[in-house]
Amino acid sequence: MNFQKQCIAYQTMVVKEVGRFMRIWVQTLVPPAISMTLYFVIFGNLIGSRIGEMGGFTYMQYIAPGIIMMSIINNAYSNVVSSFFGAKFQKHIEEMLVSPIPNHLILAGYITGGVTRGLLVGLIVSIVALFFTELQVYSYTLMFGVVLFTSILFSLGGMINGIFAKKFDDISIIPTFILTPLTYLGGVFYSIDLLPEFWQKVSLFNPILYMVNAFRYGMLGVSDINVGYAFSMICLFTVALSVFCLFLLNRGTGIKQ
């Protein structure tokens, strides 16, 4: 395929992917808005008013970046895993596999879909947050950089999950047993300074901690960990997972007998 044809194929995939989650917006865009509103009301407002300051900010201000990040992570991941597994399950993945689209473009199409939904939900949740608190921005570049790479990273994660999934259970196991615990323990609601030293060390093995803190730094200018290090880790993981995904697609894992 020449460059122009590849552009058309990529555009087709993106329109289809974005169209998919927009068509079912009640299932994709509304739930995060509602649940994040609840977080803001319950943790931020009711409980947060009794907690006092964290990292030099009100508790509401402190958790807002974490909650935004959490919704971006969840939505980027679940968009790709449901869309890709759905395509496998209904077999219309074959429409792509018989066509001349190269695998890297198939990957790019799904990732773009995941990133778009991640960013859109992030925006919606940010708007919701504005009803409860003021959002500040310490560094736009860092903030957008972290959001972009994190959503790419979790879209890739969703892709890998979708590639290996054989039945519907398989696409909810990883989010339930790995993604959600890591997110809750990833410093969304607290600074790891509050933890005993042992658990602080353990927390450093949680990749989501780095993303939440890097993002929080982009907004508030405070972080539990070194931001440069966090950002490098995110980039490194993104590259590694992309290579792995392409390897799986080229090998036909989970999609070709």
Partner: protein, 308 residues
């Protein structure tokens, strides 16, 4: 120019099942080619490998000279596939499905819309263009798969059991549609169970069984192999045992129904004379149909004996 060239194709599935045991097959450009075989013979596996949906274990395939290993994008661009099982997104409309497929082949939107209109119209789906595929009937779904396979105007159209589960009328219109395409230069390869239709339309034929090609010839030659014809005679009077006629084999299906297998070289006059002499009252006579089916069964049986 060969539209399709298959050499030494083998496939062993992950389960250890050897579905293809070394297949060689050539399809000339412009051919209307039938791949026949009983269930589980390896037809869909062969087609899956040609269309990149199944990984081969060994062998080479080229499509219009483009090798599937070294020149895959060019090969894929030449192929249109109508799979055995429905495989589109249940939530998309006919129009979306066809346009998306065009997009995957890199066809600009404007041209894609013209093509979509042309093929949806030709296949009687234009009125349903905004209908979600989920709500289409089985026959219409199959037609939608044909429209989708044609949107990039492939030189080789492959159909895996396109008429299975499709009613007679739709089947007829599908066959005449395919003949038209073939006349306009599209090479067609299909698998089917409706042997009589294959007999009328296909130029060349291969028969596959247990992952081996057991016959690969022109339809004409294959039918020429049929050196006998079978007649069914309905009788007015009862027969106790089958009578004997010159150059014939006879069998009583029931006391009022006689099956006569006669050499094509033998004239029917002798037979009629002998029937007359024995005083047998014939009420009606017909040709036993499904001649190809019989031949097919006998080929498959012969091979089995040879293997055993």
């Amino acid at each position: 120019m060969k539209a399709l060239q298959i050499q030494g194709l083998k496939k062993t599935y992950g389960s250890g099942l050897q579905a293809l045991r070394g297949i060689d097959l050539d399809v000339e450009e412009g051919d209307f080619f039938a791949l026949l075989g009983p269930n589980g013979a390896g037809k869909s596996t062969t087609i899956g490998i040609i269309t990149s949906l199944v990984r081969k274990t060994a062998g080479r395939i080229s499509v219009f000279g483009h090798d599937l290993d070294s020149d895959i994008a060019a090969a894929k661009a030449c192929i249109g596939i109508v799979p055995q099982e429905i495989n589109f997104s249940q939530f998309e409309t006919c129009m979306e499905i066809v346009l998306n497929q065009a997009g995957y082949y890199g066809i600009p939107r404007r041209l894609a819309e013209q093509r979509a209109e042309k093929y949806l119209d030709q296949l009687g789906l234009w009125d349903k263009r905004h209908t979600r595929s989920r709500t289409l009937s089985g026959g219409l779904k199959r037609r939608l798969m044909i429209a989708r396979a044609l949107v990039h105007e492939p030189r080789l159209l492959i159909l895996d059991e396109p008429t299975a589960g499709v009613d007679v009328e739709l089947r007829r219109s599908m066959w005449s549609f395919l003949s038209g395409l073939n006349l306009n230069g599209t090479t067609i390869v299909l698998t089917t169970h409706y042997l009589e239709e294959a007999e009328n339309l296909c130029k060349n034929i291969a028969i596959i069984n247990h992952g081996v090609i057991i016959e690969n010839t022109s339809m004409k030659k294959l039918l020429g192999k049929l050196n006998t014809e079978t007649l069914i005679l309905d009788l007015n009077s009862k027969l106790e045992y089958p009578p004997e006629f010159t150059d014939c084999q006879t069998r009583l299906i029931d006391p009022y129904c006689l099956e006569v297998e006669i050499k094509k070289t033998a004239g029917l006059n002798t037979l009629f004379k002998e029937i007359e002499q024995l005083g047998i009252q014939v009420h009606s006579m017909r040709n036993k149909s499904n001649r190809l089916e019989e031949l097919f069964m006998s080929l498959v049986d012969n091979k089995k004996q040879a293997v055993a």
